[in-house]
C-alpha cells in the first residue's frame, strides 16, 4: 500500500488511542470542518451565513 493510501486507510480503520498525536490531528480536522464550513453550504436549519470562511473573504476584499 502506498503511503497516501496507508494514511487514508489508517484514518478509516481507526486503531489509535485517545491523547495520541494521531487523535489530535483527527480532532483538529473535525473541528475545522465544524467551525469553518459555512452553515449555508450544509443548509443548517438553525444557523445561517457564510461562517468564518465568508468572514475571511470579506476581510481580504
Amino acid at each position: 500500500m502506498t503511503p497516501p493510501l496507508r494514511v487514508l486507510w489508517n484514518a478509516f480503520y481507526w486503531t489509535y488511542e485517545r491523547a495520541t498525536w494521531q487523535y489530535d490531528v483527527m480532532v483538529i480536522a473535525i473541528l475545522s470542518f465544524i467551525w469553518l464550513t459555512p452553515p449555508d453550504w450544509l443548509k443548517d436549519p438553525m444557523a445561517s451565513g457564510g461562517g468564518p470562511i465568508a468572514w475571511l473573504i470579506d476581510v481580504l476584499k
Binding site: 478509516f12 480503520y13 481507526w14 495520541t20 487523535y23 489530535d24 473541528l31 470542518f33 464550513t37
Partner: protein
Amino acid sequence: MTFTGLIGRICMFPLRLIIDLCVRWRIHPNTLTFIGVLINVAAAWALALGKFVTAGVIMVIANIFDFIDGKVAVESQTMSAFGAFWDSVIDRFSDISLFIGLIFLYATLDRRDYVMVTALAMMFAIMTSYTRARAESLIKKCKVGFMERPERVVLFMIGAFTNRMAAVMWVILILSIFTVADRIILTYRELRDVEVMV
C-alpha cells in the same frame, strides 16, 4: 503531552473534587448514573425547543454524572457486574434522548433532510455500541473506530454551544458509519483467524 491529553488533565481537576465528595457522602454510583440520564432528558427537551446554549449547559452537568459514576464505583469499592450493565443501558437512553430532541426540532422546522441525517446518525451511534457488545461476546476485544460515546458527547456540546449542530450531525453520521465498519472488519478477521486455527 498531546493537546487532547492536556485538556483531559485540566478537566480532571474539578472532577476529582466532585468524585471525592460523592465517595465521602456515600452516593451510590448507580444513583449517579440514573441522575445523569434524567438531566440528559432535560437537555434533549432544550434541544427540541431549539435552545442550544441551555441544552449545552445541561449536557455538561449531565455528563459530569455520567463520567464520575465509574470512578466513584472504583473508589468506593462498589463496583458490580450489574453496575456495568446498568451504566451501559442508561448511556444508550441518554444518547437516544439527545438525538430524539434534535429530530423533534428538525421535524418542527419541517426539515425532513436533517430529520433523516439525525435519525441515521442515531442508528449508527447505537450500532457502534451494539457491534462492540456483540463482538466482545465472540472475541476478546473490539475497541476500534474513532466515534465512541465520549466523542459523540463532546461533539454534541460543541454543536450546542457554537450553534453548529448540522455540521456535528454530519460528522457523527460519517464517523459512526466508519466505526461500525471497523468493528465488523475486526470481528471478521479475528473470527476467520480462529476458524483457520481450528
